[in-house]
């Protein structure tokens, strides 16, 4: 029986695990991808204490810090989450079942898809979602980044190191990146920002050849390119939380308070999966640590009745099922 199971091993989950170790909570950290989304970020310049480091370095630092405490780790995917009596039961794709007094949910997000014809057909054949991963393949070739936020600005800046030309295709009237990144984009001779434009379709044969736009750019509604990198935001991975009655907003993000509490007692959440406006590594880390303190309080203030190892309850819960 764990005091807390942390689901998700990105910045928020790793920070939570580190602090849970400090507070002597019996802790299990479960995550498919140790490091999480930050490892897909080329350069991090907004994490206090580090002027500039790579996303991978930040993840490695957080992991090492976590590993300096006595916690258990499972590199696995949680497939099922149940709330029985006042305990949580966690099942993973490795066929293991764990039981815990509290949950800290830090699963993060997945990339929002463009949802246009050609996107699926050309996935990884010119349609990509991570410039750091696949960008170098398009050395010397024209590409586009779709999106208007800071992620799009950063993806475009990274792609400009490889591509011959980078179009940024933004739906809005202007790029909404952080001023420092907007500035870098504006000064980059390879990057051309096209605003008030939507990509209608992606076309090609075996690989992407061009994008069809909803307005003419340089006299044509088709834009010749070898790749499109989508950076139009993220979708919260909150389904498992919803399964145990955790409330979300209309975007599917988990609603938390200032103590990282959700509407379900003993269930806390942190990081990009939450309904916070500003989502950064540093804010996720802060929510993770706050969640651990709330979990610590919850563990100390409650008595727990858990089904696994308790025959009477096992029978009851089986019957209920």
């Amino acid at each position: 029986m764990f005091d807390t199971i942390i689901i998700g091993a990105g910045c928020a989950g790793l920070a939570a695990a580190m602090y849970a170790g400090r507070l002597n909570l019996k802790t299990l950290l479960v995550g498919e991808n140790i490091g999480g989304t930050i490892i897909l970020t080329d350069v991090v310049e907004n994490y206090p204490g580090f002027i500039r480091l790579s996303g991978q370095e930040l993840a490695d630092n957080l992991r090492r810090h976590t590993e300096s405490y006595n916690i258990e780790k499972a590199e696995a995917k949680v497939t099922k989450l149940r709330h029985e009596h006042n305990c949580f039961i966690v099942e993973t794709n490795e066929g293991k079942t764990y039981q815990s007094k509290t949950i800290i949910f830090a699963t993060g997000t997945e990339w929002r898809k463009l949802n246009i014809p050609g996107e699926k057909e050309f996935a990884n054949k010119g349609v990509h979602y991570c410039a750091l991963c696949d960008g170098a393949i398009y050395k010397g070739k024209p590409v586009a980044v779709v999106g208007g936020g800071d992620s799009a600005a950063k993806e475009a800046l990274l792609m400009s190191q490889y591509a011959s030309k980078v179009y940024v295709l933004a739906r809005g009237e202007k790029l909404r990146g952080e001023p420092i990144n907007n500035d870098r984009v504006a000064k980059n001779p390879k990057i051309e920002v096209i605003t008030k434009v939507n990509v209608k379709e992606i076309k090609g044969d075996k690989i992407v050849k061009y994008a069809v736009l909803d307005k003419a750019v340089n006299g044509s509604t088709t834009l010749k390119l070898d790749a499109i990198f989508a950076a139009i935001g993220h979708i919260a991975l909150s389904q498992l939380a919803k399964d145990v009655g955790v409330a979300t907003n209309d975007k599917g993000e988990i609603i938390i308070d200032r103590e990282s509490k959700t509407n379900v007692p003993g269930f806390f959440a942190a990081g990009d999966v939450c309904d916070t406006v500003f989502k950064q590594a540093i804010t996720g880390v802060s929510e993770g640590v706050t969640a651990v303190y709330s979990a610590y309080t919850h563990v100390n203030e409650n008595e727990f009745i858990c089904p696994i190892g308790n025959e009477d309850l096992m029978v009851k819960s089986d019957k209920k099922a």
Partner: protein, 81 residues
């Protein structure tokens, strides 16, 4: 003693999943040949021929082609329990 596997991995220098795959090989003492498709046009084409796509990493283990960092598929192809 495990049989010698012929392992080739197609990578880019910054791809995080490529690093994870290489770490996995190191942890399991698997020898591999690495080619960088960002620098080598021939390797880029070879990777596309094998996998039909441009996502990295692509791993070729004794002719079995695996796209992405897929621990279970890697273990299976290498015959690691």
């Amino acid at each position: 003693m495990a049989k010698a596997n012929k392992v080739k991995i197609y990578t880019t220098s910054t791809c995080p999943w490529c690093m994870k795959t290489k770490e996995f090989f190191k942890a399991h003492n698997v020898k591999y040949e690495e080619v960088n498709v960002g620098d080598d046009e021939k390797a880029r084409n070879e990777m596309f021929e094998k996998s039909g796509q441009f996502g990295v990493p692509v791993t070729d283990i004794n002719g079995t082609v695996i796209v992405g960092y897929d621990k279970e598929a890697l273990k299976k192809a290498l015959g690691i329990a």
